[in-house]
């Protein structure tokens, strides 16, 4: 993968940028708590037994936390996948990972009806891992590692997995539900129903700890081995983190299309490919992006809500298209 030269280059500037981003996100987060049907004011936190308090504690704050977690972890999952596969267009949405997780949910619903969230999550994690590693096998066999071919194969592979899930779901009359699961929405996030999402924090931490190694792997197998990094092990670890994170997010919240693709790419255009440097910013950017989409979704047709997955889908597609067209090789003979 060709490294991109960053515009910002000093440590101090990184720290300032990070602090600024975190600050903006914090402010935006707090403000978003006040958007919604029930009128909420900052002092509602101190007035238990009012509707406003309940709205805050049961719905709004959990929703916000879920947003931040989902957005940051999916963005980070994207970065990791891009590094270990050495292709900037690989992401959970373009490698069949999301679709594999959904397949897992379908299977869990059929085999373990009425089972708790955790059980479904475990099945989804299993299928997500299987699907992602199958994609890795496909990737190994594609002889040209052309930037464009890989996501195309990934998308088609995802379509195949979707077709399998649709086939099974059709038989059990679950097709409508599959659509609901596939579209990311935070409206069903309530206190007591979303806590498993916290597991993604482990993924985020692991990603940060291994960031340097992911960068090395991103430069190629020979390079990595030369520097004493266990290539296969790190690749597998990276994909596992991405697959598990995706499964957890999809089970709790649903899929947010192309999040793991566009956020890392846009960040990398500004800050380059050094994962250790860009990881925190990418996480914040992912969280911010989802936050913005969520607010738009809640505001645009107030008091009805449009799912985050839909808004993010539109924005994500447009940005993805721009990225593709920029990546197209220039006209040479």
């Amino acid at each position: 993968m060709t490294a991109r030269t960053p515009l910002v280059s000093s440590r101090a500037r990184d720290a300032r940028l990070l602090a600024a981003a975190a600050g903006v996100l914090a402010v935006a987060s707090v403000l978003s708590l006040f958007v919604g049907v029930v009128n909420v004011a900052p002092w509602s936190l101190f007035q238990p037994d009012t509707d406003a308090y309940r709205a805050l504690v049961i719905a709004r704050i959990p929703r916000l936390l879920a947003l931040l977690l989902a957005g940051s972890s999916m963005a980070v999952a994207g970065v990791i996948m891009q590094q270990v596969t050495r292709n900037r267009f690989v992401s959970p949405s373009t490698a069949g990972t999301v679709e594999s997780a959904v397949l897992g949910i379908v299977l869990a619903t059929i085999w373990l009806p009425g089972a708790p969230l955790m059980a479904r999550m475990l099945v989804a994690i299993a299928t997500s891992l299987l699907g992602t590693f199958l994609f890795l096998q496909l990737l190994r066999r594609i002889r040209t590692a052309d930037s464009i071919v890989v996501p195309l194969v990934g998308l088609m592979f995802g379509a195949v997995v979707s077709a399998i899930a649709a086939f099974i779901a059709y038989h059990y009359d679950l097709l409508q539900l599959v659509d609901t699961w596939t579209t990311g929405s935070f409206s069903r996030v309530l206190r007591g129903r979303y806590e498993p999402l916290y597991a993604v924090v482990a993924g985020l931490l692991l990603a940060y700890v291994y960031a340097a190694r992911f960068t090395v792997v991103g430069m190629g197998e020979r390079f990595a081995v030369n520097l004493g990094v266990h290539y296969r092990r790190i690749v597998n670890l990276g994909l596992a983190i991405a697959a598990i994170t995706t499964a957890i997010v999809v089970v709790v919240v649903g899929a947010i299309p192309f999040l793991g693709l566009i956020v890392p790419n846009v960040v990398a255009m500004w800050l380059g490919d050094n994962v250790r440097r860009t990881l925190p910013i990418t996480a914040l950017a992912g969280a911010g992006f989802v936050l913005v989409c969520d607010v738009i979704g809640r505001v645009i047709r107030h008091p009805y809500e449009i799912a985050v997955g839909t808004i993010a889908g539109v924005i994500g597609c447009v940005v993805f298209l721009v990225l593709i067209l920029r990546a197209r090789a220039p006209r040479t003979s």
């Binding site: 040209t144 195949v160 839909t310 597609c317 298209l321």
Partner: protein, 337 residues
Amino acid sequence: MTAVATPPTTASPAAATRDERPAVVRRRVAVLAALALVAVLVYQFAMVTGSWSYAMDLRLRQVGALVVVGVATGVATLLFQTVANSRILTPGVMGYDSLFVLVQTLLVWVFGSAVVVDLDVRVRFLLDAGVMTAFGLLLFRWVFRRNSRDLFVLVLVGVVLGTLFTSLTLFASRLLSPSDYLTLQDLTFASFNTVDPRLLSITAAITVVAIAAAVPLLRRLDVVALGHDTAVTLGVDYHRVVNQTLAVVTVLVAASTALVGPLVFVGLIVANIARQVLPTYRHRTLALGAALAGVIVTVGGQFVASRLLDFTTTLTVCVNLVGGLYFVWLLLREVSP
């Protein structure tokens, strides 16, 4: 980007003093034709329960739709793969079906379901097919610049646009009233079982015209398959031939999707069968093979799925599944995309 060079199943690698293949090819085309005929006859007449005349009428319509769509999809994918220099691409993934749904949704949103339902089904069909064709043509125009690699970009753009259309549809459908939404569900449901005969004849006509337009291109397509530089050297206007071929492909895929919905991976199976079975480079023969194989796959597939295996699933779900698995298998076999 080189595509696969898988050895055909029967040609011997040793040097032959005479080229046996033309005879082999002719025999195999005959076999394909026979199988296609058998498939159609079996579908039409086998295992009839209940009223004979009703069944005949229903089946005739279904067979008609299956044949038209099989031919259209098979030929379209074959031609597209030649121009794209790849065995794994298919125009079906490019979001035509999502566009179809989006168009219906927008119509209902803007004009209300009452108006749309009142619209003559043929007008609606032509509108759908027309919009999809325009989409395809614009996309090709916009993305395809110089060489076959651009077609990968093209397909990727198509896929992403498909997702965009789906998201926009979801967005727009949230703005509809519940009754409008229900009507929309009906309007966007397309399947083999409920084909309107008027629409069938329109699609059949479009398919015939498009393929007829493609026939003069086929010889030059043989040369285009050799790559841009060789084609230009041999005096073929590469860009013109490719653009015209892509136009034909678009029309065929749009018409087929408007009639029965998305057949994303069907073309993939059919085109690869044609190339595998017929060891020739001549597109006149390959296109014929793809048409016949298309009939066999769609008619035979639907027969097997609905009568033998007693699936209530429609062909689209089944064949997309099989085609998709075939796609994964092609990749695992180290086929270079």
